[in-house]
């Protein structure tokens, strides 16, 4: 059975430090950073990747007040993506558009806020807001996109820990290939820096990054890495069947040529390199590619002591002997954008099809020998001729692995 090819025709994003793909790419190629210090309830100062997009660009103040930060991020990214794609939303059949957004978690921000709120009223629950349920239902970010755009096709979120951004894309590809929708807005979002719980939990786990300079705190593969920088962000792709995109003369950024999602089934937290490598192999098989065909691998590594080593073990297995495959990492620039990470990091790499650069792994000053992948790009960007295929890893807790492969479109 031959399934239709799926084209990326638009990208909208907000990453820490950048509000669109051009700004993001510039940051990745100029050693920028979106990580800063913020004050968090009960925790004091923490490092975080913070987005500074114009919230009022697509929502009024009442809509902002009514909704959630994740919803606001999702709306901004979706609207920017549609705009970038040139898709005429108002003339489209909105019942044939799907919204599929990955989330690591949702609802913690609002729940913490309400617990804090009622603590000022002797914990009397009659002061608990009636907005709690519509804000915390798991479909909230995707649902807010439909409220904002008038899209009446299916919408839901995909809970997939930190593999969620890729998982949103995978869901959309499948729905487009099945003919369930004609256009999809897909990717991932995260509002997680607005909950103290995620910082506190990583700290308790010994996995929260600290550094005197916040922009140096996220250090994947570095000998002195000491954990994760929690970030917010979002990235939404406009996806269409290639034939439809060609018919309307869309600018085709790339084709999603392969993907895979699998499970470790071994541990709540610690990654399993065997299954990670299998996930890469599954995605390559689906794309009908060999490992040596891949030009760039965007690694997931979050700068935890063990997680980075585990992923490198998996990549050595999956890319053994691939002398022309380069590896990089994006979290040094923006921290870990959780549910948005996979979609955002992939987007940051896609301009390589045009500009021929592989952005470096930021803050990698002293390479951990256990993370010494061949062709690991760090220090400065590497130029490579004819970059055609990018593979994006995104892994999450409970042992969920996801891989998405994007191939350059040659018209």
């Amino acid at each position: 059975m031959t399934l239709p090819s799926i084209a990326i025709t638009g990208i909208g994003l907000c990453a820490p430090g950048s509000n669109n793909l051009q700004e993001f790419r510039k940051m990745l190629l100029s050693d920028g950073s979106g990580v800063e210090n913020i004050e968090t309830r009960h925790m004091g100062q923490v490092h975080a990747g913070v987005c500074h997009f114009d919230e009022l660009k697509y929502q009024n103040r009442k809509q902002l007040r009514r909704g959630t930060r994740a919803g606001s991020i999702a709306i901004y990214c979706s609207r920017e993506s549609i705009d970038n794609s040139g898709y005429n939303l108002e003339e489209a059949d909105k019942s044939r558009i799907g919204v599929y957004l990955g989330i690591t978690e949702h609802g913690n921000v609002e729940t913490e806020n309400e617990i804090h709120n009622i603590s000022a009223f002797d914990n009397d629950t009659k002061y608990w807001t009636h907005h709690h349920n519509p804000r915390t239902v798991a479909n909230n970010p995707a649902g807010e996109v439909t409220l904002n755009t008038g899209i009446t096709g299916p919408h839901y979120t995909i809970g997939a820990a930190c593999a969620a951004g890729n998982a949103g894309l995978v869901q959309a590809v499948q729905m487009l290939q099945l003919g369930e929708v004609d256009m999809a807005l897909a990717g991932g979002v995260s509002e997680s820096i607005h909950t103290f719980g995620i910082f506190a939990a990583f700290k308790s786990q010994g996995a929260l990054a600290t550094h005197e300079d916040p922009t140096k705190a996220s250090r994947p593969f570095d000998q002195n890495r000491n954990g994760i920088v929690v970030s917010e962000g979002g990235c939404v792709y406009t996806l269409e069947r290639l034939e439809d995109a060609q018919k309307r003369g869309a600018n085709i950024i790339g084709l999603i040529s392969g993907y895979a999602i699998n499970s470790d089934a071994t541990d709540f937290v610690l990654a399993n390199p065997v299954q990670q490598a299998k996930c890469v192999e599954l995605a390559l098989k689906k794309a009908n590619l060999k490992a040596s065909d891949i030009d760039i691998v965007n690694t997931h590594a979050t700068a935890t002591p063990m997680g980075d080593i585990q992923e490198c073990t998996a990549l050595r297995e999956a890319f053994s002997g691939c002398s022309d495959t380069y590896f990089n990492n994006t979290k040094g620039f923006i921290g870990h954008c959780m549910g948005a990470a996979g979609a955002l990091e992939l987007a940051g790499n896609l301009p390589a099809f045009e500009d021929g650069f592989i952005h470096p792994t930021k803050n990698l000053e002293e390479l951990d020998p256990e993370c010494a992948l061949p062709n690991l790009v760090y220090g400065q960007a590497t130029q490579k001729e004819d970059i055609r295929i990018i593979l994006n890893n995104s892994f999450g807790m409970l042992g969920i692995n996801s891989v998405v492969i994007v191939t350059r479109y040659n018209g």
């Binding site: 009024n60 009442k62 009659k126 002061y127 009636h130 907005h131």
Partner: protein, 81 residues
Amino acid sequence: MTAEEVKKAVLDIISDIAPDEDLDDLQGDKALRDQIDLDSMDFLDIVMELRKRYKVEVPEADYMELNTLDGCVKYLLPKLT
């Protein structure tokens, strides 16, 4: 509180709940919902803010009393003095 102060207290709450609305021309005897974009969730916000800020309880049976700005002042004045 005087009637004028009660009116100001209500308008302050409404301006927080409906921050995009111009409240200067609100007519006291006309339904609030006919003049500004205010849905049932917003109305519950008004009830909540009265509870939080002024310890005033508005039972569901009395919600219609808050239909207009004048109605709000009339209903709340005895509770806030």
